[in-house]
């Protein structure tokens, strides 16, 4: 996968390295800005109230 990407990037090794770095930064930005905030509430760290989660059965 990574080899395939590298072979399909234009330019010489320096330009390819620069483009790769830019892609990594964009991916990390997208993860932190959109993907992780979406995934995080699905984990149990948000359940700090008494009427959520399992409480729905009682209410």
């Amino acid at each position: 996968m990574y080899g395939w990407i590298w072979r399909h990037l234009p330019g010489n090794a320096w330009l390819r390295a620069f483009i790769s770095l830019a892609m990594v930064l964009v991916i990390v930005y997208v993860l932190f800005q959109y993907v992780f905030p979406w995934a995080e509430p699905l984990l149990p760290f948000n359940d700090v109230t008494v009427d959520q989660g399992m409480g729905t059965a009682v209410r």
Partner: protein
């Protein structure tokens, strides 16, 4: 040849997933804290600005009787808290000298990412009933990380636009299950309270990183004083 590609693709996949997991842990442990601290200081500075712009009219004629007793102030006709907006700042000296967090109306995910959340079905600050607040134990600034350190007699001080409210805790943190919604009742059955009063309930999760249980502390309103009189003595020490 094809085996080689298969093995290489599989190891690349493992590396990618590993990196993703590390990034997610960094996000949880570090980045949510940065975001929450920023959001909390935004909320607090917004509140301070709001309080500075509209000084409460009731603080102009200081009533000497209003201090040191939770007396019902004559008909302030309070406006309802706005969902998702902060309306007070909480100080708990036991959790740190500088520990202070905004209290927002509502306990939705978004509210708790910016500070503490007031259960919108419970009473208003300082009023008869049970003023109940939830906060994160871990992630989003770890506001209630040291929740088990709370002890009876500890002060929980809140400030809104007009008044400082000093609550005192009455019991050690109480561990219960998430479905135990009775802990935020006006008179919680498991609490030391037996008759109606002006109570405070704080809730967070237990264990630290889990969600199987909840930790609860209860307190009662000990004293109030107008903001014009300065900070309450509970915050001096």
């Amino acid at each position: 040849m094809s085996v080689r590609i298969l093995v290489r693709s599989f190891s690349e996949l493992c590396l990618t997933v590993g990196t993703l997991i590390v990034l997610f842990v960094v996000y949880l442990l570090y980045w949510t804290g940065v975001k929450a601290d920023n959001a909390a200081s935004d909320q607090i500075s917004g509140l301070e600005q709001q309080w500075a712009q509209s000084p409460a009219p009731s603080s102009a004629p200081p009533r000497p009787t209003a201090s040191q007793q939770p007396a019902p102030r004559p008909a302030p006709v309070p406006a309802a808290y706005t969902e998702g907006r902060s309306f007070a700042v909480m100080y708990i000296p036991r959790l740190g000298k500088d520990w202070h967090k905004p209290v927002l109306e509502g306990t939705a995910v978004k509210d708790l990412q910016k500070g503490l959340g007031h259960y919108d079905n419970t009473t208003r600050l300082g009023q008869p009933g049970n003023f109940s607040v939830a906060g994160h134990r871990r992630t989003y600034g770890d506001p209630f990380k040291d929740f088990p350190e709370l002890r009876p007699g500890d002060a929980v001080v809140l400030r809104d636009d007009t008044t400082w409210y000093t609550y005192r805790l009455d019991a050690l943190p109480f561990r219960t299950v998430p479905s135990d919604v009775g802990v935020i009742d006006p008179v919680p059955t498991e609490s030391p309270f037996r008759s109606p009063g002006r109570y405070l309930t704080l809730t967070t999760c237990d264990p630290e990183w889990g969600s199987s249980h909840r930790l609860i502390v209860w307190g009662h309103l000990d004293s109030t004083q107008p903001v014009a009189q300065g900070k309450p003595t509970a915050l001096d020490g």
